[in-house]
């Protein structure tokens, strides 16, 4: 599903990624582990087409990432940046945003579907009508994670999904991601500092 082959990336004279390779099949949960500033987020951004590689190639579902293919590739991906904050009045408004895009028109979003996901993530469905700025960072991370999973894309890319969570909740989220990958036949790639999450993953890329 995701094939990163010998990817290199530089900012001016500073090389951030050098010959990085990683493969992920459908149904697998993978993670990128490494020190702060080693290029983990840059690698995810490169997969999304937000950073241009100076060498190597990235393939999603057999399609090589390029300026010509980036739009169609992004339609196959659900993406969650780190500590995302959306200026929506309520949680429901925040959750609904990607479902309003033409590319996701056929994808269903109901309170029942959310409740099913949220119960697995230890969230109360009553949060749905709360102002979006009234939930904690950890709750927001899990809420947005559930959105990514509900979009039904074959590839899910997540940046630091557990950075604001305690160890028990991190384990809960890690097991949730693993079961989502299996149940929905999706490939999930997460950047993390958490060894708890890394231990649950099928594959780990050390940077």
């Amino acid at each position: 599903m995701l094939k990163i082959s010998k990817v290199s990336l530089s900012y001016g004279s500073k090389q951030v990624l050098h010959d990085v390779s990683f493969h992920l099949q459908r149904g697998e949960l993978g993670c990128v582990l490494g020190e702060s500033g080693c290029g983990k987020t840059t690698l995810l951004r490169a997969v999304m087409g937000f950073e241009e590689c100076s060498g190597g190639s990235i393939e999603v579902d057999g399609i090589v990432l390029s300026a010509m293919t980036v739009d169609s590739l992004r339609q196959r991906i659900a993406y969650l940046p780190q500590e995302l904050s959306l200026p929506s009045p309520t949680i429901w408004d925040m959750v609904s945003i990607p479902f309003s895009f033409k590319a996701n028109k056929g994808v269903e979003l109901t309170e029942e579907l959310l409740q099913r996901e949220w119960s697995r993530l230890g969230l109360d469905i009553h949060l749905i009508n709360r102002p979006s700025n009234s939930v904690s960072v950890g709750q927001r991370q899990r809420i947005m994670l559930s959105v990514c999973c509900l979009l039904g894309k074959p590839l899910i890319i997540i940046d630091e999904p557990t950075s604001a969570l305690d160890n028990d909740t991190t384990l809960l989220v890690a097991n949730y991601l693993k079961s989502v990958a299996r149940e929905r036949d999706a490939a999930i790639l997460a950047v993390t500092h958490s060894h708890t999450l890394a231990e649950v993953c099928d594959k780990t890329l050390h940077l």
Binding site: R45, G49, F50, P81, E83, P87, P98, F101, K102, L151
Partner: protein, 272 residues
């Protein structure tokens, strides 16, 4: 109709003397605005005197192509002023703003003069280029539209680009979840429209009660019937409001093509 009262040179000097009051406060509170206020006042006087002389000839000859050429010059000045105030690169905004300003001001002016004012019917003559681009009607309307479009575009374009730059994660999130470029920029355009138009709407709300608009006062002082002045004012508000949004949407649609790279990333837009 009464003759418009002229203002004597002494009267003008007495009027200009009022500028001493803001200058006093600007100096007292060390605002750093004294020099720029004096320069702006002197520039205003020189520009208006020169324009007055120019308009005198423009009105005397009243040739449609000369009037249209004057419109082009006004548009060029408005475009450079707009681009300069936004601090966005000329390579991105110059053509979009020129096209947005000129086509909108031209179309709305023609709409107003031919369909609202119905110049040809009022004067019992056929609609012609000479009538549509007559100095007396075309130049004031065209200038009025440009002036309003300028303010709205500067505020909206700055808000739009600053928003995308500041909220890059939100933009990436939308793009990364399948949004088209229009869908991903829509919230930022919405915020820009709100910021630029809320003052216009608030102004419209209190018009005639708290604020007596310039066009209406000018007409009444010039001896017009207040009822006619009110009708003009109403239409002026409508056409400036409409022209502002049309020019903004045109500018953004054209500028978007130059503001993002092939991967949909916002390029460095601020600078010279």
């Amino acid at each position: 109709m009464e003759q418009t009262l002229d203002i004597s040179i002494i009267g003008l000097l007495i009027g200009l003397a009022l500028m001493g009051i803001p200058l006093y406060f600007f100096r007292k509170y060390k605002t750093g605005l004294v020099q720029s206020t004096i320069i702006a006042t002197v520039r205003m006087i020189i520009q208006l005197v020169l324009i007055g002389l120019y308009l005198k000839y423009l009105f005397a000859y009243d040739l449609w192509y000369v009037n249209l050429l004057w419109g082009v010059i006004m548009c060029a000045v408005a475009t450079f002023t707009c681009v300069g105030r936004t601090h966005i690169k000329r390579s991105i905004l110059l053509v979009p703003v020129t096209v947005g300003f000129f086509t909108t001001a031209l179309l709305i002016s023609i709409y107003f003069l031919a369909l609202v004012l119905r110049l040809h019917e009022s004067m019992n003559i056929n609609l012609s280029l000479n009538l549509l681009f007559s100095a007396r009607y075309f130049i004031p309307i065209f200038g009025l539209l440009l002036g309003n479009m300028l303010g709205v575009n500067v505020l909206a374009l700055t808000t739009y680009y600053e928003g995308i730059q500041r909220e890059r994660q939100m933009y990436d999130y939308m793009l990364g979840n399948g949004a088209t470029r229009w869908e991903a920029t829509a919230p930022f355009l919405s915020a820009a429209i709100r910021k630029a138009f809320i003052p216009c709407i608030a102004n419209m709300m209190v018009m005639g009660i708290v604020a007596l608009p310039g066009t209406m006062i000018g007409q009444i002082l010039g001896g017009s019937d207040p009822n006619i002045a009110i009708k003009y004012q109403m239409m002026i508000v409508v056409i400036t409001f409409v022209a502002s949004i049309i020019s903004l949407m045109t500018t953004v649609a054209l500028a978007n093509r130059r503001s993002f790279d092939r991967f949909g990333r916002l390029i460095e837009v601020f600078g010279r």
